[in-house]
Symmetry: C2
Subunit: 757 residues, 2 copies
């Protein structure tokens, strides 16, 4: 949510926006916060609750506006591009001249898209879906949810699609929707998210925005909600689902009303079937299939899974190479984007001529148009084309498109994966469908096979299941194809998962984002909290000298500090850096700092929560600023941390199993989980990276033996053996594993940033 | 999952099956269990994981078989019923004779349905959806998931629908599906759910079964999954969603293939559009609407919400009266069922004659047939009837059906709510649609208005949103109506929620089931764990004399016991009654009991987890049986509880806020949450009923002041004031509130049972 400064090991210079941060979705029930909530009585809260629905509709509308902007601009640019060709052709210019103009326009567009990524905002590259997934999981990459990113993304995606690259506009639309949601949450922290759970409300609005983005991109409100559930399902409850639904319905309505190609003229204001869906409806002759076609669909799913896994693996290698050689921004990346665009656009310009026929764009046959059209139109012709397409040419297109897709994803331009993957699959699927036509045992037309193929490829690459099925169902307007689509989806996912992760997860992994996923946790049963926690905890005393507090804050980059009773050293609660910065800055105004000599009966002033909100909480001032405002006299005074300490925070005893810690951490959206020993003494702290290390098997059970158990011997021996062997590996591996990369930052550039917990 | 015995206050006689029980979905990481998991190595676990998919397909198939059985039987019985009338008519018998036969057949059918409820299994009354919702939330009502209930429900629903009562077969199909899932989980606790999280696996299979039930009932696999998510969303993650999807797809495929009316002849094996959906597809002339019709749809939603709220309120009063006067089983209830059937059937037989025309059933006009047809066919004619129906008669039918629906739900027969509510709403909606026809500003046909009306009424009564939208979308085969349907749904839900809860929740409340729902928890921020916990905790020493252990078990009905270190009295962990019973019974065989004089170095034998599984864990032997097997010598020996204690269980400090306890308890699926004070001393324990009391405002913040806070004064005073006033009310209120009712047990009968935690 907020940019914050961290002190780097080399120098104490804060580098804002250079650091991955965990987000704390837990409610901090500090006395300060509790008194704020009790002051905001029920009636006022309810009244504020009403705002939420307005905001949700607003977010939906915003996502819709962005989607309509993208669609309309794209249509306009494409018309200019094709129009120029026809005009030149009419004027009698030759093929090579027309090609030069075509290439120059494409390069111009690509250079805009590339410049936005390479010089403005590296995070607007790609589809943005991995970034949103990370945010919903609780990892904040700076600038992901900024207005600048939104603008760069929206403008960039129009350019990269229009340039002729195999990019989809849908992924960026989802990212845009999420940004709109986050902006709405940030814009008015007062009436909407004021009193209750600010980070959670922001997360829910962002999720709703992402759902609205899908709804706007595909005209699929239900698919949108399911997508948000499937990709960000860490924190889902029915209330959030309903909110997402409201939001995505508004977006879908807006887009359906203002954009989208119309099949035939209808009076203004007509909705429903008269207004076509994204990929067009199937004609009734296509609309049945035989029971024994289901195995064919499943086999296509298997093939899709294999192709998807291969694509992911190739793209992973390519992305690694890009990270190492090209980096996430700068001229090197810009030149690559232009080079790839030039290669792909030139190839696709000449490829249609392999099939004898006119060299005029407007005289191309449907299969020739596949090379030059945008993804959406090509999908339509593959799904609904009634004539057989030239088999060789279709196969050639499928292969070329597949290769171009792998080449493009991860390039320094905004680019969605949905439509290109669907298009590649549809081409393969239609090939199968055309081959099977004429058999008495096949009832489904080639269009349906194209649909199944598209499903298979998309599911094989992205490994999304239900939401993909529903989106395809909604974009083709047919609920009846749910079963074949779903069967294919699952087959592709199963097969693909045998080889590697989905493409989004691969890119998340390559960025070393510590994502906590729902995974089998059996091996984590043998680990105890004390085995994988961070033992070196920076703690604070409950009443501290201001000077020492500032020193502690300067001396480390942690965000959460266990607060101890100075006498007994017992754990009292957790205090956040963001709160401390605010308190140090505002403390003077309310008399929060007291002299040690003060009679203890007079209680010190408290920095109120409203005051912090007014100063931008959950954002917070930098330590420099705080330091600058403290006088020498104040530094010598004492500060009582009790009102700012979350005394009810979750903690675990040292012998708790890793699997239990993981479940607690993930489902409660925590950022810090203190580990306590006997008598509530702090033994360590668990953060996201500790859990990830435990999950990925970097840590083996420690020497701590389980309770007296005659059958526990195997486990014990295994632990002993593993410990010595693994610890060495771990220290070096983890150091590499945990270092974050922002965007596709080069590996060199990664060295000087750390993952802050 | 298991029937268990509890000692009742009046006598120590266990009464199996008379007690609501919480279910513990948490994983008990006892040393015993951990050694079991470590013995079952990864490879074997993976191999077992493969079984899961087979089981899921099996569950889907099972749900499909039940659905097909219900559909086919119902079709057959209805043909017999109508056939008899035509036959009698052909033979020249008069109206009154025909009526007598019609009534007798109906009463015969109703008596079968009533007898199944009143004398066999009271829990097969109603739709079963509330019971499934409770189970997924973690409250087990005995017999809900038994084979006997399944059979009684499946046979009963055929009879009650065929008898002519306004009942839907869909709710019971959902319940049946869930039972199939639960039976599959119980049938083979070995290979499937053996090593890992047995209760969770059972819950997931049951949820998948319920989804399959919806899928089978409506042919709506996606709607099924969403229904399970919406109604049982306490524990949802993407993995479970995918499993539910597999299960419900199989069910939908099976049903679609073997049942359902076919619009036109298609070759065997044809699937897809050729096979019609439950309520029929809309013709293309109906398929658009204007933007300004959306407000009309929303207004219909508002009306639906009002009507639904009124229906719920009336039905609530009626159900209360039924509980007080009639009871949940026995002759009284049976007679009521027959009486209501006779009244409704007679009325509906003669009502069509108000419209002039033939008295022959087969010559009825569509509006006349509404009175005598089953819900599904009536829906079809309201949605797709091309001629205008007689307005007065349609209005009369809508009113009558609405009243009959309220009267019937809660009657002593199996009866679903879905189709009757949809039908009532469809009748009202068609009225609106017919009135608006002819206007140039209205594009949607009366069938669409009927669809919107049906949505409004159903949503107004049951308050389900997304799943209802998707189910209707899938049953009409059209994805394009998603937006109007969803708008109506939300409007109806919002308006309805202003007045009362959904009908399912009302029935759950009337049964005093302690359901933990997702609700605003702001007021729970002011409560601390120590304010609402149960202070009188029965604890166990970690090494105990067998005799004393048995006495403790006999002396209370609790299921979980904190285990203490006898010297320091510190909390060590939680042990379950089920485990203790097993250990006491099997202890002798493995030498778990030791003499106090034994040298402490020799560790005692351990009852292994496999052994417990073999003896029916998570079911467990009764205390009588255990007591009978213990010799006097064994009773004098000592038992070490450490291997059976869950040392890692969740606990909270006494000052934790109620809202945090609630979140932890609900999302982790706990049954007991120990509350610890200083130095890990046990201060109390929190169970479902404590949380519910806190949530419902029975408890006001205690005298415990918050940390020194100058602004906390208001809160403090409020707490003080409230405490004295509330405590009196609470003790009497809670006693009433917490007593459970099984089925619609009469209030008198409730006195001798308690809710066991």
């Amino acid at each position: 949510m907020s940019v914050r400064e961290v002190s780097l090991p080399t120098a104490a210079v804060p580098r804002p926006g250079k650091c991955l941060e965990s987000i704390d979705f837990d409610l901090h029930e500090t006395p300060q916060y509790m008194s704020y909530v009790s002051a905001n009585n029920e009636a006022r809260l309810d009244w504020k609750g009403g705002f939420r629905w307005l905001y949700l509709c607003g977010v939906g509308l915003g996502a819709g506006v962005v989607a309509v902007f993208i669609q309309t601009s794209l249509k306009f640019v494409m018309e200019v591009k094709f129009g120029t060709q026809e005009w030149l052709s009419a004027l009698g210019y030759g093929l090579w001249f027309r090609f030069t103009v075509w290439l120059l326009i494409s390069l111009l567009l690509a250079s805009v898209a590339g410049a936005l990524v390479c010089y403005v905002e590296p995070l607007c590259a790609g589809s943005g879906i991995p970034e949103i997934k990370c945010y919903l999981n609780g990892v904040d990459q700076p600038n992901v949810l900024r207005l600048r990113t939104l603008i760069a993304k929206a403008v960039g995606i129009v350019c990269s699609v229009a340039a002729g690259l195999p990019c989809g506009k849908e992924g960026p639309m989802i990212h845009s929707g999420a940004i709109v949601g986050a902006l709405a949450a940030n814009a008015n922290a007062g009436p909407l998210v004021g009193p209750y759970r600010p980070t959670c409300e922001a997360r829910d609005l962002t999720a709703a925005g992402a759902a609205a983005g899908v709804a706007a991109a595909f005209g699929a409100p239900i698919g949108g909600v399911l997508f948000a559930v499937e990709e960000g399902a860490t924190h889902i409850n029915p209330a959030i689902v309903v909110r997402m639904f409201v939001c995505s319905s508004v977006a879908a309505l807006f887009v359906r009303f203002f954009a989208g190609p119309r099949e035939h003229e209808v009076p203004w204001g007509t909705l429903g079937i008269g207004v076509p869906v994204e990929f067009g409806r199937f004609s009734s002759s296509d609309q049945c299939y035989f029971l024994w076609e289901l195995p064919i669909f499943a086999a296509m799913g298997v093939t899709g899974g294999l192709l998807g896994a291969a694509a992911n693996s190739l793209n992973q290698r390519l992305t690694c190479w890009r990270m190492r050689r090209i980096g996430s921004r700068g001229t090197c990346r810009f030149v690559e984007a232009l080079g790839v665009t030039a290669a792909i656009v030139s190839f696709n310009f000449f490829a249609p001529f392999l099939l004898a026929g006119s060299t005029e764009l407007h005289q191309f046959s449907p299969v020739q148009r596949l090379f030059v059209d945008t993804g959406g139109s090509s999908m339509g012709s593959l799904f609904h084309g009634t004539e057989d397409m030239h088999t060789g040419m279709l196969f050639f297109f499928a292969l070329v498109h597949f290769a171009q897709l792998i080449w493009t994803y991860g390039l320094g331009v905004p680019s969605g994966l949905f439509v290109p993957a669907l298009l590649g699959g549809a081409a393969f699927g239609r090939l199968v469908g055309q081959a099977l036509q004429g058999s008495a045992y096949v009832a489904a037309g080639p269009g349906i096979y194209a649909l199944v193929g598209a499903t298979a490829m998309m599911s094989g690459m992205a490994r999304i299941t239900i939401s993909l099925s529903v989106i395809l169902m909604e974009t083709t307007g047919e609920a009846q194809w749910g079963l074949p689509i779903f069967l294919t989806t699952v087959a592709a996912k199963w097969i693909g998962d045998m080889f590697n992760k989905g493409i989004y997860d691969i890119h998340i992994d390559l960025k070393h984002v510590p994502l906590l996923e729902q995974r089998p946790e059996k091996q984590m049963l043998a680990l105890q909290a004390s085995d994988f926690m961070t033992s070196a905890v920076v703690t604070l005393d409950v009443v501290m000298k201001v000077e020492s507090l500032v020193e502690v804050l300067e001396g480390c980059g942690h965000h959460g500090f266990p607060v101890l009773d100075p006498a007994s050293k017992r754990f009292l609660g957790l205090v956040e850096r963001s709160t401390l910065h605010h308190v140090l800055r505002l403390g003077r105004l309310v008399g929060a700092f007291t002299d040690a000599s003060l009679p203890s009966k007079q209680s010190p002033g408290i920095v109120q929560y409203e005051e912090m909100l007014r100063h931008g909480h959950p954002g917070f001032p930098s330590l420099q600023e705080v330091r600058g405002m403290l006088t020498a006299g104040e530094c010598a005074q004492m500060l009582d941390l009790r009102p700012y300490t979350n005394m009810g925070c979750f903690f675990v005893p040292a012998h708790t199993t890793a699997s239990r810690c993981y479940r607690l951490f993930r489902s409660m959206g925590l950022r810090h989980l203190p580990v306590l020993g006997e008598d509530y003494l702090v033994q360590g702290i668990i953060t996201r990276s500790n859990l990830l290390a435990a999950q990925e098997g970097h840590i083996k059970p420690g020497s701590r033996a389980p309770a007296d158990l005659s059958d526990g011997k195997d486990m014990k021996r295994e632990r002993q053996r593993a410990r010595t062997r693994e610890e060495k590996v771990f220290s070096s591996e983890l150091a590499c594993e945990m270092s974050p990369v922002i965007g596709l930052m080069s590996l060199e550039a990664q060295r000087d940033i750390r993952f802050e917990v």
